[in-house]
Assembly symmetry: none
Homo-oligomer: 213 residues x 4
DNA sequence: AATGAATGAGTGTTCATTCAT
DNA sequence: AATGAATGAACACTCATTCAT
């Protein structure tokens, strides 16, 4: 009889193995086209084992997603939260976000699948991330404005827009399966976020009053 | 007996009716959860009729999608292509894009579904739109730079980033089902695209060289 | 296009065919051991057809049961209800009940299966039959007593006991698969119900007061 | 190290504990719906232990049943066999039978389950009980007739009918889950068995010849 | 041309039983 | 002797598509 500790360790390890195999197969085939048979074949375990660890296919799939989101949160917490300079925070935030997904491309597929297959679950998770993520962007904008670095933008809407450009970049990367790395887009995205396309902001700002927005 | 023309007209009308009903049901339930039975119930025709007009469920779904994309292209062609001033083109482009989807929210759902269910078909369509859409953004950036309005940005990557922010905005709108209109985001998105968040671009630009990007 | 009437007729006929095949297979193998595949093989139709007519296996099984109970009720209504003489009603009632099941032995199996697999559904049906069945036995006892034919028995409990002897006979017949007919038991059962085993009731009755009951 | 005797005693005790837990769970949920997991949870032992004592679920279930039948036989042997007066034997037999099941209601559920799930095993057991049970009823009828207490009934069929009324009473009690005790039915059942419903047997007997049986 | 009854391939999930520790 | 993690055979049910009328 194994000690309880050893047993728990093995169970935990097995759980992770299942999540790894499932992530691989779900990312390759999509949620619907993935057969539980394919996952267990990948794993080399019996079907009962799968169902011992996860109640059903949906639960397994969402567990893969939640684990990924947890890992993203952790990276944000470690690499981005400590940064205090608002400009630097945007720059590093964008790069870190992109690098995270460069290192875990399967997770992009998983996220896209969750969005369309389990919109409710995705929405809830998305809202939960507001604190760690959009909330932080908002705070960063506030800090930048207070320090005189940033223009007095509409904080909420601008934070949304910044979040959206990241999501959108991920999305188009997912669709086009570009061979380049996401992180290669850091420069262009960051420059756009920080400086926009206009040559001289102030002047542009003056002129834009004449423009019909 | 109807004349051939009249018959064709009727057939065309019936085809549109089917697409309308299918769009409604697909948007409401998603592609997978939509039953052909639900579509014909919405239509009030027999199942054979559906299959007379569309080879299968997938074809019908993609036809709904293609029709929507065609309509978007048409709007872009009429409302955006004629604009020559680069700044104005960005501003109006964003607004027009958002207003188009405010007027056809079901299409947002359809697009999101196509993306995850039929990635290949979506990719192909996406690439086809490059000429009308990303290609136009690139041309606009070139024009703006030539006219001295825009900074000398990396045209391809910046165009991608602009496209991504629109896609991302659509995406987050889709997820959060915000009650506000998409068009309400025009100001914030446009300001970000044009001016970025930095207070004084040139100065910021100078400083950013010190920043680690 | 078939007329609506003709269509309904065909649907009704098909429904009955399915019930017949299902009764055969359920009676032969029992509810649990019956595969839907076996039923459709017996029928020679596709599986979808089965599920078009009956929502699931349980519904189909209970439909077989309910149809049988309906037929029993009908036989009781036609052959037993009209009888007015209390003694004759008991005699004919027992015989009719036994003959009904001699003519539909599969139904005995179905009833036994329902009892143990779907006790709740059986109980409800049993209670519903009280009006047509136990209620009638009670009324018959009352009439017999009023006419001076019957002793002044406890009507409710005696009616239950009469019902129980019929159920029990069915039950033991089911278990022992006797080759003889149920109806052959009519004489013995009826004699017991009417006269008991004692030689002279009155005397016995007197004596039985001394007995410890 | 335990002595062989002590070990055997422990094994025997453990076996009884398993049977007790299994009876409880089988009676509560029925054979099919009972999971071996539920039984071991009730017991607080591992699954391997269960299978050490009983080859499989069916064997365990039938062991519960056989133990109950054995106990019934023992009660009959002790309480009924010694009775010599035929009338008293019927009266006490019915009461003893009912009281036995009042004291072990779970066994009623077990018996009903065995009947429909393992008809063959039940039939065999039923036949084995003929000697102790139906055989005894037949002998009692013979004795009653010889003593002049009982009418000259068809011994086999009447014995069957008497057995059937007991089975049927058990059955309807099982279905209706009456709150009253089975033993409360003794009077009505016994009266029916002994005296029937007719007021004056002899006269009735005469008249019944005119009746169509 | 329109209908809708019939089809049947495809798949997630359960749970009794085994056996390595 | 006892454990409980692992097993995998078994099976009900769905729904896009067809085709006879």
């Amino acid at each position: 009889m194994l000690s309880q500790d050893k047993r728990n360790l093995l169970i935990q390890r097995r759980r992770e193995e299942i999540l790894d195999a499932a992530k691989l197969v779900f990312a390759r085939n999509g949620y619907r086209r993935t057969l539980t048979d394919t996952i267990i074949a990948e794993l080399g375990v019996g079907k009962g084992t799968l169902y011992k660890y996860f109640r059903n296919k949906k639960t397994l799939f969402l567990a893969v997603f939640y684990r990924g989101m947890q890992q993203l949160r952790e990276v944000i917490r470690v690499k981005i939260e400590p940064i205090t300079d608002p400009r630097q925070k945007i720059i590093n935030g964008v790069r870190t976000y992109f690098e995270f997904f460069d290192n875990d491309k399967e997770l992009i597929e998983i996220i896209m699948q969750v969005r369309s297959e389990f919109k409710d679950e995705y929405r809830q998770n998305f809202l939960e991330m507001y604190n760690d993520y959009i909330g932080q962007i908002q705070q960063n904008l506030k800090n930048g404005i207070a320090l005189g670095q940033f223009r007095e933008v509409d904080i909420e809407k601008t934070a949304d827009a910044i979040s959206d450009i990241l999501q959108g970049t991920l999305q188009s990367y997912y669709i086009l399966k570009a061979n380049e790395k996401l992180a290669d887009k850091t420069q262009a995205v960051t420059a756009l976020l920080l400086k926009g396309v206009l040559k001289i902001s102030n002047e542009a700002s003056a002129q834009s009053r004449e423009l019909q927005i």
